[in-house]
């Protein structure tokens, strides 16, 4: 059955509402003047140039990529290991463990952030770069876990036994038999982890030290100070990266 005209009309309206704000902001970021009104009087790359020569923004970009990369590495490692253990292991309490590991997904971010601030202050991790990476990892791991578990659902565990009966070590069986079959899930999880860290703001607000400005933190600080089109350029760049990462996971999902 094809959707009725009414349904199509309403949906188109809602989708327009969803898309228009970002389209407007991207357009405004190319404005040649500081005015934020429509339509911009022309097109210019002035604010992008401003972004890339400003020390603060370049530093924030560097920090974001650093924290994102480290979070991706740690979260992918931990999340994949946890997924393998949950899927292949036979032990009591697996459902409970899964619930605990995915808890950060259903906990309000502010609560996760506040709890980590308390815990990290006790052990001296608050305000440090490793603490920030660890904080981002906590919220990124569930995404890796869910993604890898989904790809494991179609994996036949008897293949691993076949490999070991042919004399393969566990590591060899993992690398030559398991990984080639589940890598799209692992890679998608890694992208998820990177994207989560790149966009994360609330945890950063509590855990980052005074000098550690990530892109979202720099944006927030600037918006509150003075709204310039440079912020919109930064927002557009972050949005573009998010869309690229989304397309990447979609491509991985199809494999």
């Amino acid at each position: 059955m094809s959707p009725s005209r009414l349904l199509l009309g309403v949906s188109a309206g809602v989708l327009l509402f969803l898309s228009l704000p970002m389209i407007a902001v991207i357009w405004l970021s190319f404005s040649p003047t500081e005015l934020l009104s429509f339509p911009p009087s022309g097109l210019s790359l002035r604010w992008y140039a401003d972004f890339f020569v400003s020390d603060r923004w370049v530093m924030a970009t560097r920090n974001s990529l650093l924290v994102g990369g480290a979070t991706m590495a740690v979260a992918t490692l931990l999340g994949t290991a946890a997924a393998l253990g949950l899927h292949l292991g036979q032990f009591r309490g697996r459902a409970l463990l899964l619930a605990l590991l995915t808890l950060p997904m259903v906990t309000p971010f502010i609560v996760t952030a506040a709890s980590m601030f308390f815990a990290f202050s006790l052990v001296g991790l608050a305000g440090t770069l490793p603490g920030l990476v660890l904080g981002h990892t906590v919220v990124a791991v569930p995404f890796v876990l869910v993604s890898v578990l989904a790809s494991l659902a179609t994996f036949d565990a008897t293949l691993l036994r076949a490999a070991s009966s042919l004399g393969a070590t566990p590591w060899m069986a993992f690398r030559r038999v398991l990984l080639p079959r589940i890598w799209p899930g692992v890679a998608a999880g890694a992208v998820f982890a990177f994207a989560t860290s790149l966009d994360e703001f609330v945890i950063t607000l509590f855990l980052a030290g005074p000098g550690q400005f990530t892109l979202p933190r720099q944006m927030y600080a600037n918006v509150r100070e003075y709204m310039t089109p440079t912020i919109l350029a930064a927002a557009s760049l972050l949005f573009a990266v998010s869309v690229l990462l989304l397309l990447l996971t979609e491509a991985l999902r199809r494999r």
Binding site: P3, M22, A153, L198, F201, V243, E250
Partner: protein, 358 residues
């Protein structure tokens, strides 16, 4: 919650008060211990945490404690006479009972205060003074905003999800991509976008004037309308995606069967579509609500003083007031609200909103 300031700063006072039965005034040892320990704590600069802790329970106690600590050189034994001579409040048994209760190791002070309650010296619950009673209003406001946002997201999201499920490829993928793109971009980016759009000289005001709805630009940033509008916009994909997941897996023959049995569109919707897509609606609603109750950035950027939710107060207590007890108490209640929603969803559908399966 833990309550260690008094026992860490005034250990001997705590010991002396522990032996006191709470009747009349405490023994001279308590007076003496307090006078000496307060003075040494002030000298070693570690009195601040306790002063703040006590002042939070009853305003004025910070001043009393500091005054007593500074006056140590002038105080002479017996302290049970010189302390009340310095400040008459030291002859009030209730102050001493308050100190006795603050000995820890745990206190219900913060959890009660987060509900606008306090305990009298006799241990009875009492509402705090109206000018301090902000938290019940705060929780009700958070609940109200979350319910409105969740309702609006479901109402707006349902047709989109139904449409995506019914469209043929590649149109279904295109529509899904339009939902996924905002879903993947950060909350801060989208809040910033709304902040720019809702400026006085911004595009939304331009549009309103162009359409003749208003004559002069409106102040939109800093209003409840701005918070609701942007929060709905930001959480809409969160509501849509679980519904799409459920609806694409639905067996469409049920609808055909209903139609062949003579059911009209409204009846088909109400008796077939709605019940079948209910798990998706519940999961989408739960996820939206969970995110809405903890929303921080969007109200902080786009709302005024009176539009802030629980999350903002947690951040304020942590970063500005350094009152970790209150931050933890509010977090605990927020977590309880989230837990209740997850538990409710489990009971209704037997699954969690994350949809993770082993």
């Amino acid at each position: 919650m833990t309550d260690r300031e008094l026992s860490e700063t005034l250990p001997r006072t705590r010991a002396a008060l522990a032996a006191w039965d709470g009747q009349g005034l405490p023994p001279e040892t308590a007076f003496a211990a307090l006078a000496q320990e307060a003075a040494s704590a002030l000298e070693e600069r570690r009195i601040g945490a306790l002063a703040q802790r006590l002042n939070f329970e009853r305003s004025g106690l910070r001043a009393l404690l500091l005054r007593t600590a500074r006056a140590h050189d002038r105080l002479t034994a017996p302290y049970s006479e010189s302390l009340p001579a310095l400040d008459a409040r030291w002859s009030d048994p209730e102050i001493w009972r308050l100190l006795q209760r603050a000995a820890g190791p745990t206190t219900s002070l913060y959890l009660l205060r987060a509900l606008d309650l306090t305990r009298t010296a006799e241990g009875e619950f009492r509402r705090v003074d109206p000018e301090q009673a902000v938290f019940v209003t705060l929780f009700l406001r958070t609940l109200w905003v979350s319910v409105v946002v969740t309702g609006a997201c479901l109402l707006l999201g349902w047709p989109v999800a139904a449409c995506i499920a019914a469209l043929r490829p590649p149109w279904s993928s295109v529509a899904l991509l339009l939902v996924l793109m905002p879903f993947w971009s950060s909350v801060l980016v989208r809040s910033t976008a709304w902040f720019a759009l809702l400026q006085r000289e911004g595009p939304v005001n331009d549009l309103l004037i162009l359409l003749g709805i208003v004559d002069a630009p409106l102040q939109l940033v800093g209003t409840r309308v701005a918070v609701l509008l942007s929060t709905i916009h930001i959480l809409l994909p969160v509501a849509i995606l679980p519904m799409v997941g459920v609806m694409t897996r639905l067996d469409r023959r049920h609808l055909l069967a209903a139609a062949s049995l003579g059911a009209g569109p409204w009846l088909r919707f109400r008796r077939v579509w709605l019940p079948l897509s209910l798990p998706g609606i519940l999961a989408g609603g739960a996820m939206t609500f969970l995110l809405a109750v903890g929303f921080y950035i969007t109200p902080a950027l786009l709302g005024g003083e009176k539009d802030q939710l629980v999350a903002w107060f947690i951040a304020q207590f942590l970063n500005r007031d350094v009152n970790w007890g209150m931050a933890a108490a509010l977090s605990a209640y927020l977590l309880a609200m989230a837990g209740a929603v997850v538990a409710l969803l489990r009971v209704l559908t037997g699954g969690t909103p994350t949809g993770a399966r082993i």
